[in-house]
Structure formats: C-alpha cells, structure tokens
C-alpha cells in the first residue's frame, strides 16, 4: 500500500507564500494497493492528481475507485477538473453514503453540473458508476482490498473509511467533531448551542460513533484525522464539526494506530503555524508511542513489507 496526499486543506483552497510547504489544495488522497487505485475525496487536489496519473511517472490504470467522505464543496469541487474523466477508457466507481433523502448520484451530478460548472460531470467520456454504502459495513472493492465504513460526527453526516489489504491499513477520519458534546445529524445544530446536556439517546449514538471510529483506526498503519482546530478555536466553534489534535491523539492512542497524520488544516493556518502544531503534538503523541506528522501535499506513506 502506498498513500500520497494531494490536498490537505479544509473548507476552501488557499494560495500564497504562507501555504507553500503544506499546500493550499483541499482534500484529495491517492492510495495504491498493488494495481488498484483508490482516491479519497475530490477536493482541488484532484486536478494535479489527474495530471500526475496521466504522466509517465505514475503507474497506469483505467480503473479508479473514488471514496467520497461527504459532499461538502471542499471535498468535491476538484472532480470536474480530473483529467482522466476526458478519457473514454477510464472507468470510475464513486462510493459514498446511502441517504434516504437524496441518491449519491444526484447529489454529485446536480452540483457538478450546470449552472455552476461548464459541463455536467456525466457528459465526460469516462464511464462513471455510483455505489452507495451503509455505515458499519465492510466491502470488498477489489481483490485483497477491503473498505470498511463508519459514521462521523459532522453536519449532514460524513463517512469514515478503513482501507485494508495484506500490504497495509489506512484509516481516514474526516470531517468529524469529537464524540462528547454535540451530536450532528442531518438537521442543523443550532448555531448558538454551547454546552448542552446530551440526552441519553444522543449520548448512545455518539458512543456508537466513537466505537466505530476506534474500530476503523484499530492498529492502522496510518490514521489520517480531521484536526482543523486548535483547542481555543474548538472551544469557540464546537458546532462546526471539526476536531483538534488532542481529540485525534485520544482516538489514535486508544486504537493503537501507528502513525497519526494531522489533516484538514484550517485555511488560515500558515506553514509556520503548522510546523509549531506538529512540534507540540509530536511530543505529546510520543508519550503514547505514537508517530505523528502533519499532512502536506506530496507526503508519501509506504510500508513495503507485508505483516
């Protein structure tokens, strides 16, 4: 298994001298398991990934699996600019949450279409299939590649993924709030909500969610986790649906993941600030025997030997 980050910014893309080393593109991750290519999310990082896939430096395949965590703009806006869409030989399967209110295909094709984009997504030459997933289920998407899902605590809900193969295991947990104060669902959580007492039913759902995330992360080689906020920011915006590095370390250490990757950086976070965050939390993670690093564009994670 080989993992490469093409976009690790949250909310919206940023550009400029403050964002050169970690990068300004929004969520997109390339995962190779042998000959199988899996892409997680379709943020602006998907455009450079598409160019790379068509270059001689990249392994070649026409079969591409795309796991969508949720359809907020920063996770889908790069899709129309993914070069392999223009190739009639490309066969994409797009995976995302099964929802009763709106099919996945509709959520993606209606937004990535006119009037907001010049061309409808499905008018591209590539073949596109949609496959809807349920929470807490394992799917064999290719030989030796299993994908397991879990519910994340984010407005309108999001999917956490575990990609498992004999050559490695990646857990991808974004976007999510922690599992203690606010329960996010399809309905909007009131913007004025601060410290509220949770009813037992909500508490039970959050406990189930947290266990699901622990299961995804259990003994993972790499745990990529939403750490958009610093603690003071989380205190002001608990209703935004994002976590801090402390929350991530809590999950990673309990799940005995090996390597925690801080992901979904706030758009205002400069390279220097991410350096500082990485330094502080790396030391804290080391107390749990956990390797920690901040995601940056171009970061490649690889485990050669099989277990």
């Amino acid at each position: 298994m080989q993992v490469r980050i093409w976009g690790c910014r949250g909310s919206y893309p940023v550009s400029g001298a403050d964002f050169i080393r970690y990068g300004g593109n929004t969520s997109c991750i390339e995962v190779w398991v042998g000959d199988t290519l899996i892409i997680i999310d379709a943020g602006t990082g998907m455009r450079p990934l598409g160019q790379h896939l068509r270059s001689p430096e990249s392994p070649q395949t026409n079969r591409i699996h795309v796991l969508i965590t949720h359809t907020h703009w920063d996770h889908i806006i790069g899709f129309p600019f993914f070069q392999p869409l223009r190739d009639v030989h490309t066969h994409l399967t797009i995976y995302g949450l099964r929802r009763s209110d709106r099919p996945l295909e509709k959520a993606l094709t209606e937004s990535l279409s006119r009037p907001l984009f010049a061309l409808p997504l499905t008018s591209n030459p590539a073949r596109i299939d949609f496959r809807e997933l349920d929470f807490y289920t394992t799917y064999a998407i290719a030989p030796d590649v299993k994908v397991t899902t879990a519910r994340l605590n984010h407005p309108y809900r999001a999917v956490g993924y575990r990609i498992e193969s004999p050559s490695g295991c990646l857990a991808h947990i974004t976007d999510t709030a922690p599992f203690d104060r606010i329960l996010f669902g399809d309905e909007q959580v009131s913007w004025s909500s601060k410290d509220r007492t949770l009813d037992p039913a909500s508490k039970a759902i959050l406990d189930r969610m947290r266990q699901g995330v622990l299961d995804l992360a259990a003994h993972a080689d790499w745990l990529i986790y939403d750490t958009q906020f610093e603690p003071d920011e989380y205190a002001r915006r608990p209703h935004w649906g994002h976590s801090t590095p402390n929350h991530a370390i809590g999950i990673a250490s309990q799940a005995q993941a090996r390597h925690l990757v801080l992901f979904h950086h706030d758009p205002h976070r400069t390279d220097q600030q991410i350096d500082a965050i990485e330094g502080v939390y790396r030391a804290r993670a080391a107390e749990y025997g956990l390797v920690l690093g901040a995601a940056r564009e171009g970061l490649t994670l690889k485990r050669e030997q099989t277990r």
């Binding site: 893309p13 050169i20 600019f81 006119r114 009037p115 309108y156």
Partner: protein, 280 residues
C-alpha cells in the same frame, strides 16, 4: 479608483510552488472609489482573503457595505462567498448583482450553494449579514460615485458572461473575465464597449498552443487585439488557466510585449497576479 486583485485564476484554484508569484486563487477583484465606495468583481476563492483583509475595517464591526458584481455563476466566480468571514457578521450589507432570469432565481442559486449537502451553512437565512439580490441588466446604475454598465458576452455553448464597465470621474475600466468570441473574431459590440477605456481586464485563459474550442474562453491574443482595436491604454491579462505556471505567464506576457513593440503599438500589457494593486 483603486483596484486590488485577490484572485486571478479561472476554472479551479491551483495553489502551489509553480503558481506562487501570480497566485492560485480564482477570480476576485476589489475596486474602491476615491470616496470609499467598495465594488467587488466576482467572488472566487480570492474573495476569502479579501474578506479577511476587510475584517480590519468597518466589516469587522458589522458596519461594512459592499456591492458585489457577479459576471456569471460558474463556481470559480462564486465559491469564496459562503466562506468569507464578513458575510457572516451581522450588520454588514451586501448588494449582489448577478445574472439570472429573476432576482428570486439568484437568491435560489445562493440557497443551493449553501444547502446542507454542500455546506455546513444549511441555508442563506443563517448568513448573518444583510444580502440584497439584484438582477443585472443593460441598464446602467450608480454605486456611490461609480457608474456601472454591463454587457453580455458569449462564454461557451448557451452560456453568457457579463462584462462590467466602471466609471468614476474621468477614469474608466472594463472587466471581461470569461469570453469566447464567436468564430474566433471580435464583435464590434465588444470594441464599442471598451472603446478608449483606461484599463481593460480580459480573459487570457488559452494560448494558441492549448486552445480548446467551445470551452468558453478566448486566447490571450484576443484581449490584445481587442485592446488595440478599441484604443485602450492598458491591458491586464486575467483568468489564467490553472495549468499555467508562473514561468509560462512570464513568457506569454513577454511574447505579447515583443510582438506589440515590433508592430509599434503603444499598449501596455501585464498579467494580473494576486495582490496586484493599480491606482487609476
């Protein structure tokens, strides 16, 4: 008028080392008149850093006032709006002129942009500031001391992009961010619209080498030809392809300057970059 470019890309944001000097944000230009009227041309991803900068002034106190002119409703001209901080501050006022069959339709479009599937905002009713939507027409209107005229330009199959002409005192600029002239030739209408203006900001998405017909964009050369034909004094190449690197933009500008010099044409050509400021 004082202009500042906050986003100069087309299609999709393209941050990174190869685009550091010209910038990777999508379309957004702020124009301020001498008496402080604020007009913003498009709300691509550059609208977010503009919003951050505005927070240091009246917008940070909920006393800001902006007129936003949307040339058309492609995402590279809209995506910054729901994320910009001043938009969520109570008391700030945004008058949004956009292309739509009706004012209601423009409001619906913004509602769709922040719908729960796509944004944690859920509905524009959650946006704290005052939003007033207005439909663009050819009828000129006044924003403080700035006179605004609009004209429709072809932008791919069945799509139009509004170009804007802003006049304050004896200074005039024209903004045409996305245009593909039918048949590859300039319209007399376009020449008339920009005739004699001090500054033309023009689509430069394609070059001869990478031109894709019917994609809604012209060649950078078309902006040069238009500026020359209309007697414009200064041309700013805008809406760069996300694939165009800094070095490639440098070379493009140098080629145009060389060619104009050889022909003895006195037209100043520059390429827009994030942070570029012009006093007009």
């Amino acid at each position: 008028m004082r202009l500042r470019f906050w986003g100069v890309r087309g299609a999709v944001a393209s941050p990174g080392p190869a685009t550091l000097r010209y910038g990777g944000n999508t379309s957004c230009v702020a124009v301020e008149s001498a008496s402080g009227d604020l007009l913003v041309l498009d709300a691509g991803s550059g609208f977010c850093p503009l919003g951050d900068a505005l927070m240091k002034g009246p917008f940070g106190r909920g006393e800001g006032k902006m007129t936003l002119l949307l040339s058309h409703i492609h995402m590279d001209h809209l995506i910054g709006f729901p994320f910009a901080v001043p938009v969520h501050i109570r008391g700030n006022r945004f008058t949004i002129y956009g292309p739509a069959a009706s004012r209601t339709r423009l409001e619906e479009l913004h509602e769709g942009l922040v719908a729960p599937a796509y944004s944690p905002v859920y509905t524009i009713d959650n946006i704290g500031s005052d939003l007033e939507f207005r439909r663009i027409s050819r009828k000129p209107f006044q924003v403080g001391e700035v006179r605004v005229e609009a004209q429709r330009f072809p932008h791919g199959v069945g799509v139009h992009c509004w170009g804007f002409k802003l006049t304050a005192g004896n200074r005039t600029l024209v903004y045409i961010p996305d245009v593909e002239y039918a048949g590859g030739s300039l319209h007399n209408e376009a020449i008339e619209f920009v005739r004699g203006v001090d500054l033309l900001i023009h689509d430069a998405f394609f070059t001869q080498a990478d031109y894709m017909p019917y994609w809604g964009h012209c060649l950078s050369r078309h902006g040069v030809l238009l500026a020359e034909a209309a007697g414009v004094s200064r041309l700013i190449l805008f809406h760069h392809s996300p694939d165009r690197s800094d070095d490639e933009i440098d070379a493009l500008v140098a080629d145009h300057r060389d060619e104009l010099y050889e022909r003895g044409v006195s037209l100043r050509v520059d390429a827009a970059y994030d942070g570029m400021t012009i006093h007009l």
